[in-house]
């Protein structure tokens, strides 16, 4: 069955440093979604990527979908303390599979 792997599991950065989390699927995806969960909160939808090689930006966040539609990444430029939380990818094919998440902590 479809598996979605996400790395790293944890990332600790100094405020101002960049951050990247990677998502890899065992099968080709139709689309991929990204969610953010703040500490003590619930996952909130950030963005969806559909097209091969697609790149989308939201302020300091850059989302990429691989050419083969099997991998994706989320890159945050110049992290801020407000970026703290767990970032999940969700691969969609016949069903939706969440990655295990990357927990980001930011030291001020």
């Amino acid at each position: 069955g479809q598996q979605v792997m996400q790395i790293p599991q944890y990332q600790h950065v100094q405020e101002g440093e960049d951050f990247t989390t990677y998502c890899n699927s065992s099968t080709t995806l139709s689309n991929i979604q990204w969610y953010k969960q703040r500490p003590g909160g619930h996952p909130v939808f950030l963005i969806q990527l559909v097209k091969s090689g697609e790149v989308k930006k939201q302020k300091r966040l850059t989302f990429q979908f691989g050419e083969a539609k099997k991998n994706s990444s989320l890159h945050i430029t110049a992290t801020q303390t407000t970026d703290v939380g767990t970032y999940f990818c969700a691969g969609i094919n016949n069903d939706m599979r969440f990655g295990a998440g990357t927990r980001l902590t930011v030291k001020p």
Binding site: S30, G40, F45, V50, T86, A90
Partner: protein, 113 residues
């Protein structure tokens, strides 16, 4: 802007008790889901429903049951709670289109003593 509501927000109960976690959404979504999650950790799908009278078990084996008698309501029941059930339970919903994003409720933090 909560359009999906979970109650209670926190629950502490003793072992062996029967409990029902409530989840309701006002968006008319066909699909609803229950996830189990330890704080900040992986999301484990335990039940889902694609519409009224439709319920399926998820990837994580669970001793809970669900029902979907009305579109807006998707309660989860534990017949006999155990300490291993201590976790956060997140309810989510989405429209019928498989590409639509999930809307999550605020969750129920369950502690079984």
């Amino acid at each position: 802007e909560a359009d999906i509501y979970q109650t209670p927000r926190y629950l502490v109960i003793g072992t062996g008790k029967k409990i029902t976690l409530e989840c309701s959404q006002t968006m008319g979504h066909d699909k609803m889901y229950w996830y189990q999650q330890d704080p900040g950790m992986e999301l484990h799908l335990i039940h889902y429903s694609y519409g009224v009278n439709s319920t399926e078990k998820g990837d994580l084996s669970s001793e809970s049951t669900v029902s979907r008698i009305r579109t807006e309501h998707f309660p989860l029941t534990l017949e006999s709670a155990r300490p291993s059930h201590t976790s956060q339970y997140l309810c989510a919903s989405s429209p019928h289109d498989r590409s639509s994003p999930l809307h999550f409720g605020n969750g129920t933090r369950l502690t079984v003593t």
